[in-house]
Amino acid sequence: NVFLALHDRAPQLKLSETRFTVTGEKGYSTIRATHGVNRGTWYFEVTVDEMPEKSACRLGWSQHLAILQSPCGYEKFGYSWRSRKGTIFHDARGKHYSSGYKEGDVLGFLIHLPS
Amino acid sequence: WSAYAPDFKELEENVEYEERESEFDLSDE
C-alpha cells in the first residue's frame, strides 16, 4: 500500500497515524510517498483538508534527489502545482496553469512515463 | 551601523526568519 513516507520527509512535518495526512507550518518543506514509479501511467489524488489564510501548498511529483527542506518544484527534480494562483513550478520557475485551489478541493495528478 | 551597512538592523538576540511563500522561487508566473 502507498502511504506518505515516515522516513522520506522533512522531520518537522507532522504525519498522522494513518500516514495519509500531513501537516506543515512555517517555511515550505516536502514529504514523499512510500513508493515511486518509473514507467507506465499512474495517478493519485490529494485532498486539502485545511489551509488557513496566507498559507499555501505545492503538490506534485518528485524525484529522490529533490531537497526535502524546500518546496516540490524547487530544482530540476520536482514538478508541482501551487494552491496560490494555480501556478506550476519546476526548477524554481513558475508558469501560469490554472486558477488557484483551496481548502476542500481534491487535486488529481497523472504521470505518463513511456517505456 | 548605517555607515557600514545602510539597511543593517541590530538585534539583541537571534530572530527566526519568517520565510515568504515565494522564498525559493526564481520567477513567479
Partner: protein, 152 residues
Amino acid sequence: DLFKFNQLKTRRKRLRFDKSSIHCWGLFADEPIQAEEMIIEYIGEAIRSSIADFREKKYAREGIGSSYLFRLDSEMVVDATKKGNFARFINHSCNPNCYAKVVTVESSKKIVIYSKRNIDIGEEITYDYKFPYDDDKIKCHCGSAQCRGFLN
C-alpha cells in the same frame, strides 16, 4: 553554561569596534579577559540550511564578498549579513585568541565566542572561522606565524 550565558546578557564584556590590520574593522577587548570566558554571542537571523544555500549565492551575485553565515547545526544557520550584532565583525585568525561554540540555553541553540587564553586590553578578538575547503580561495591576512594562507 546557562548561568554563564545569563551573566553574558546582564554583564557584557566591554568590546570596541575599531580599524583592524587583519581586515577593515574588528572587535577589540576594552577590558582584560580571562581564559574560557564567554565574550559575546554571535547573533543574527536563524534560517534553514536550504535558505542559507540560496542566500549565499544571492549575496555573491550582489557582490557581498564576506560571509556572515554561521552554521548552528545540520538544519539551521545564523545569518548576520543584514541583521545581527557586533560579533559579525570579529575577524578570522589562524592563531586565534578565541573560539566559537554552539551552546544550548533553555532548549535554544546559540553561538557563543569564548576566550582561549587571557586577552589584554586593546587586543583584537579573533577566532578560527573553520571554513570548509573550496577551490575558490579567500586569502587570509591574520599575519600570524601559523597563518595557513587562506580561510578555506
